[in-house]
């Protein structure tokens, strides 16, 4: 399909969520924007292979996800400063308690295996269906479902029940939330 103005607009409209996906995956704002830029260039370079009427965001996410994977392999040994760099990308700094909670969440997310993290983000944050997420990740729908479930239970273990077999859910959650209810 040729690069029409409509298509340019549609691609641009996907940029905010592509960035959010890239930052969620990489935990690093600068690297995320490089990924987005490379994704846009590749998308336009290969625009002929985009099927008109098919899901443009899913197509773009697929490109970004594959780029991240190959990039990740290259950089695997580099030390990452996920939280620090991520915080810099935020426009509005969260309030103290919320910020602490946010950093804990970010750190827990980074502990998930990559397969699980990307599945959880696609379904739980980007709002893709299980079917779209499966096509983005090139795997079966059932695989995505089980990755999402494993991601959720691992996050909940990391954030809320770490080391506590017989936790009282209310107390644990309130403690982590940081006295939300006053």
């Amino acid at each position: 399909m040729p690069l029409t103005n409509q298509l340019r607009d549609d691609i641009l409209a996907s940029v905010p969520s592509l960035r959010a996906f890239a930052i969620s995956l990489s935990g690093n704002g600068d690297r995320a924007d490089d990924l987005v830029q490379e994704t846009l260039l590749r998308a336009i370079a290969n625009i002929d292979s985009f099927q008109p009427g098919s899901n443009l965001p899913a197509w773009l996410f697929t490109i970004l996800r594959n780029l991240f994977r190959s990039d990740y392999r290259k950089r695997r040994r580099e030390v990452e400063d996920a939280e620090g760099n991520y915080a810099k990308t935020l426009k509005t700094q969260p309030a103290q308690n919320a910020h602490l909670e946010f950093e804990e969440f970010r750190a827990a997310l980074d502990k998930l295996p990559q397969d699980q993290r990307e599945a959880l983000i696609l379904v739980g944050a980007s709002g893709f269906s299980y079917e779209d997420a499966a096509s983005i990740c090139g795997c079966a729908v059932g695989t995505i479902k089980s990755r999402v479930n494993r991601a959720r239970s691992k996050l909940s273990a990391l954030l809320y029940v770490e080391g506590a077999e017989d936790f009282g859910p209310d107390d644990t959650v309130r403690a982590v939330i940081g006295g939300n209810g006053g």
Partner: protein, 66 residues
């Protein structure tokens, strides 16, 4: 039946909390909109050939002008 499922530790409150945090993190970035560099990039590219020439070309500044 409002028995909390303790085995997986996955009670509904925790799950909704996780969903909330995940979306908060994500939406914070979405709300930043489209940075100028990307808007310009897409506006300036004439088509696939020009984009292809820039793919992976990290040797110098991508936008070229100014």
């Amino acid at each position: 039946m409002k028995e909390v499922k303790k085995q997986g530790g996955l009670n509904a409150e925790i799950q909704s909390r996780i969903g909330h945090q995940l979306r908060a993190m994500y939406d914070d970035v979405v709300r930043q909109g489209v940075p100028d560099r990307f808007a310009e990039l897409i506006r300036k590219l004439d088509g696939p050939e020009e984009a292809a020439a820039q793919v992976g070309g990290e040797t110098d500044k991508n936008s070229g002008g100014e």
